[in-house]
């Protein structure tokens, strides 16, 4: 039923992401795309930090890398990460969107255009509005939209902006996001 999961987060999302990745088994049936705001000039260390407790392999993809199930793809520092037809990653150095590169909106929009109703989009804690429009695009194209419960977020701006823009399918606490992802139908 679903072909991919995409997760966007910013300030306050690191621990949530770590818990989610920890809960996924190595043979997880879907690819997980991660667009997280990060320092532009620090190119290394993030994958390593996320990998410590992750159940699935985390890759910072090169341009044109094939997207495969059971792996997480982390948007590299200072690039936008798109999903390209043919189930490939495409990177871009176009100017920042919402002051962000990578921009969650751009990752979400391009993933929505490729996977359409077979995509799950999740917005986590964050301090700006990036991702709100992208989540709307996922919903508009028939995908499933999930937002982390703002009451649980360290910074609620991003989740509240998303809820304002889109009638989402679920508002979940981290535990519920994990349970949902573990039981997802493919």
């Amino acid at each position: 039923m679903y072909k991919a999961v995409i997760i966007g987060g910013s300030a306050g999302s690191f621990q949530v992401i770590t818990r989610i990745l920890h809960a996924l088994p190595p043979n997880y049936p879907l690819p997980v795309l991660l667009c997280l705001h990060r320092l532009k000039h620090v190119r290394s260390g993030f994958v390593e930090a996320l990998s410590i407790k992750s159940g699935i392999q985390i890759i910072e993809p090169n341009d044109k890398e094939q997207i495969k199930p059971g792996k997480a793809y982390l948007a590299p520092a200072n690039y936008h990460m798109y999903v390209e037809l043919g189930n490939k990653i495409a990177l871009s150095t176009e100017e920042p969107v919402n002051h962000s590169r990578p921009s969650i909106d751009l990752s979400f929009i391009t993933a929505a255009q490729v996977y359409r109703e077979k995509l799950v989009g999740i917005i986590l804690s964050g301090a700006n509005r990036d991702g709100a429009y992208g989540l709307k695009k996922i919903k508009d194209l028939g995908g499933l939209a999930i937002v982390q419960n703002p009451d649980e977020c360290q910074v609620r701006t991003m989740t509240e902006a998303s809820l304002k823009m889109t009638p989402v399918d679920f508002v979940f606490n981290t535990n519920e996001i994990i349970k949902f992802l573990q039981n997802i139908k493919v």
């Binding site: 532009k40 000039h41 190119r43 090169n62 495409a90 150095t93 176009e94």
Partner: protein
């Protein structure tokens, strides 16, 4: 800018067809997602309503075509992007290039740079006192790009980022000595680039300066599909001298391409490749 207009696949293909048939520029093997986004950006920027509006304007105005070629190319957006790359160029590669051989080595910026790569390179050479010891060639797609670069008005979006990048490249240097400020605009010292040779290209990079020893082609093939990437990497490999260097973007790779056997990886983190003798 925020883009809300969306162009469909069929319309995208129609624009590509017009560009090829009426304008002589081949965008057929550009990466679809980013090309589509650039077209949406241009349609929004010039209030053209839709793809048909864009097609009509492309057919009717040579001036607009040049502007289009300028806008379709994403700006480089940063001076000294990836500072460690520029440090390796300064400390290892450039000294080697000028030491070997009798004629001035040729350096070719083969990406469609909006000026940032060129000025960064020129500042680096000036600091080494080698600006007159190399010949620099720079690809351009539009006249508008040449005007932008030769006026020194790069309009950098984020001076703090550029300044921080420069400091990571040379913590003892003074970035502000390379530009002046005029009514809040930054104008770079154009004497840095006075001897640069611009090569007016088509989209397939059919021209080359002949026997370059260093090709800078960072973050350009990300806008191509696999087929076009390999075709252009082949052209670059064929003109690059044996032992010469090819720099691509830090998240690009020649692995699994048809030119991988022509290169060795010289620096993995900065994706600098060295041309073999074959």
């Amino acid at each position: 800018m925020t883009i809300r207009y969306e162009i469909g696949i069929v319309d995208t293909r129609n624009v590509i067809k017009t560009l090829l048939d009426d304008c002589g520029f081949d965008f057929r093997d550009y990466a679809l997602t980013s090309l589509k986004r650039r077209l949406e950006y241009i349609i929004s920027l010039y209030a053209l309503r839709d793809a048909e509006g864009l097609i009509a304007k492309l057919k009717n105005s040579k001036e607009f075509l040049d502007q289009f070629l300028y806008d379709i190319t994403p700006e480089t957006t940063e001076m000294f992007c990836d500072p460690p790359f520029w440090r390796i160029l300064r400390d290892e590669i450039i000294p080697e290039l000028v030491k070997s051989g009798s004629s001035k080595p040729r350096i070719w910026i083969a990406s469609f740079d909006s000026g940032e790569e060129l000025y960064s390179l020129s500042i680096l050479l000036k600091e080494l006192n080698l600006l007159n010891e190399v010949n620099i060639y720079c690809n351009v797609l539009s006249e508008h790009t040449i005007q932008r670069i030769t006026s020194g008005r790069l309009d950098p979006k984020n001076m703090e980022v550029n300044e921080a990048n420069y400091q990571r490249f040379n913590e003892k240097g003074k970035y502000s000595s390379y530009y002046r400020t005029e009514a809040n605009n930054i104008i770079f010292d154009v004497s840095l680039i006075k001897d640069v040779n611009f090569i007016k290209q088509n989209t397939l990079i059919d021209e080359n300066p002949g026997a370059p020893k260093l090709i800078i082609f960072r973050n350009q093939a990300i806008y191509y599909n696999q087929l076009l990437s390999e075709r252009i990497f082949t052209k670059l490999a064929n003109c690059l001298v044996a032992g010469g260097y090819l720099a691509i973007g830090v998240k690009e790779t020649l692995e699994n391409t048809n030119v991988s056997n022509k290169f060795t990886l010289y620096n993995e983190a900065e994706r600098i490749y060295k041309r073999k003798n074959n």
